[in-house]
Symmetry: C2
Subunit: 385 residues, 2 copies
Amino acid sequence: MPRLGTDRLPLDLARGRVLREDVIADRPLPPFDRVTLDGYALRAADAAGASAEFTISGFQPAGHPPLSLPASPGHCIEVATGAVLPDGADCVVPYEKVERADNRVILRCAEAPRPGDAVHARGSDRQAGSLLLRSGARLRGRELAVAASCGRTDLLVSSRPRIGLLVTGDELADPGAPVMPWQQRRSNDVALRSVLEAAGAEVRCRHVGDDATKMGAMLAELLEVSDFVVTTGGVSKGRLDLLPDLLSRAGATSRFHGVAQRPGKPLWFGLSGGRPVFGLPGNPVSSFVCLHRYVLPALGCAAGAAARPVDFVPLVEPVRSDRVLTLYVPAVLVRGGSGGRMARLVPTNTSGDLTALVDTDGFVEIPPDGGSLPAGFLAPFRPWA
Amino acid sequence: MPRLGTDRLPLDLARGRVLREDVIADRPLPPFDRVTLDGYALRAADAAGASAEFTISGFQPAGHPPLSLPASPGHCIEVATGAVLPDGADCVVPYEKVERADNRVILRCAEAPRPGDAVHARGSDRQAGSLLLRSGARLRGRELAVAASCGRTDLLVSSRPRIGLLVTGDELADPGAPVMPWQQRRSNDVALRSVLEAAGAEVRCRHVGDDATKMGAMLAELLEVSDFVVTTGGVSKGRLDLLPDLLSRAGATSRFHGVAQRPGKPLWFGLSGGRPVFGLPGNPVSSFVCLHRYVLPALGCAAGAAARPVDFVPLVEPVRSDRVLTLYVPAVLVRGGSGGRMARLVPTNTSGDLTALVDTDGFVEIPPDGGSLPAGFLAPFRPWA
């Protein structure tokens, strides 16, 4: 896969992007001895017994410079959660564990306070200079907040991939237009565009009938302005499967054509001037599965995203594997008898049956030549985006 | 929860929204007897043996009106995937199973073809009038494509919630500004805003120090223009925990204040003129956990989203439960010894330790008073958004 370019973006525009630099702590975290409970800061050594008495010598709110605890024993400072621990204090006793009268408090704890109680010590999360976010992280709420917490206002991230999407076929009518009894309405463009846009891509979408001249012109246009090209239909062995030939004439080199899988056997993949071209089959289930199995991981790779391990889920029922083909079967995740998650297969009625996918969560991979796989077999599971 | 209003949106703008109407099939699916393989359509009865010979009487491309198979036996029509089955034919024999010479083909199948072979029968997925998408569905690629496939160009969906986010605390410095040794940089706004926006909300964000007058004014402003208000900080029992009082003065009625949980014990919840107000604690781990545990489900509910069952994951190691508090513990999903998914707990170093969340996948719920829970205990798991 080629590597996408980078943008430097303010945090609020970086959501969903892949980080392309490391983020380092500029200060220790937390940056000071931080009070974690509302109460009274004091020296643990001053609290000889569990009911020692202390004079309140001040109030330390959060966000203000530290007060100093008087050097003589028997003093405390009232503190707010989030405040810096006053100089000279080493622990905090919460409100619940004292009795207060005017400017004095009497400890009412079962155990004597110890140094460090209710204090989030400076640097105890991370030292200054430590690695907080790795290049390759997908930026969501946590990551962006960590970047903000060490003073970052912008981040270097992967650029959005520009994807040309070409949906082919004479049989596809516009959703809003009258439809003939032998036509279907176009929906692959809707399915693929939606998933690709949700993955952060800018999608330029075209529909063309089975006309070699027009198809070739559209391919050339999309190859010109895209980082990736994705097509649907026209890659099988029929008379009107024009794409492999047109792609090669447009300068794309085939890397493979055909994968031992169902659905999606006719999958075509090649490169045109370094730009990946995915020729997905036209059946809606095939193109949707291939999008998730091949195109989305390729986009992650091009963005420099750290690879995620594949999830394995036990099957509810036995299933017969194919002798030669890897099977991708839509599945619903259910709670099994033991309480854990299992996958119930929902085979589609041919790979044209898009409606069957609506109530599924993703698809499992059934490896070839495994004979009859038992219930409980751990199959790789990929969720729908 | 109040119910959000609705918008009628074109499909490409409806992504991520919650559907607020049912979507019904306007035609059978598929709408015609659809050819599923490139090959030759014929009458199975004409293929008495496995090597019958047929004359090709035409070519039926996809998207064109059906040709008619000649009434006399021994004829076939070449067909493309996605085409309507020619009138009079009842099956398709793929290219791989014939030998062709000029305008004649000889079948080379191990078994004689049967009616229905390689035909995706009209209405075999769904009948006209059947329910394809239920009100409450979250609209992603599959759902939008199904809507397109039955001719829908727009859909009735939930409006985006307008959320007022008020981050409080004197200790919070702007990420880009100089920071004093006793200050932390503001990050809760970044974390919460990012997650809320990813969930489809329009977020209006304000920061205010521990100043009752200013805080009251900002609360009033946000309550005026928001469907939900979310605050962080200022809901504990300290002297500067101003929010419960200010919220009540702003006309919000408390429904509860304090939940037997860690983190997030001081959580405040109330209603102001029917608008939900969530007073989240100020510690970053507390507010992030409470956002996922309470605010996001509330938003789903207000949007009319169908409830999702909670996921249960076995724990890698034993854990001690609290006598009284439900514990929410960040966790990484790992592959256990048996190959299935397990949760490895990653306790944070106080609820101020945001950096610890970066490499976790979500959090598990440890119920109170369970004593020591064994390895393998199935705990509710919620992924980070």
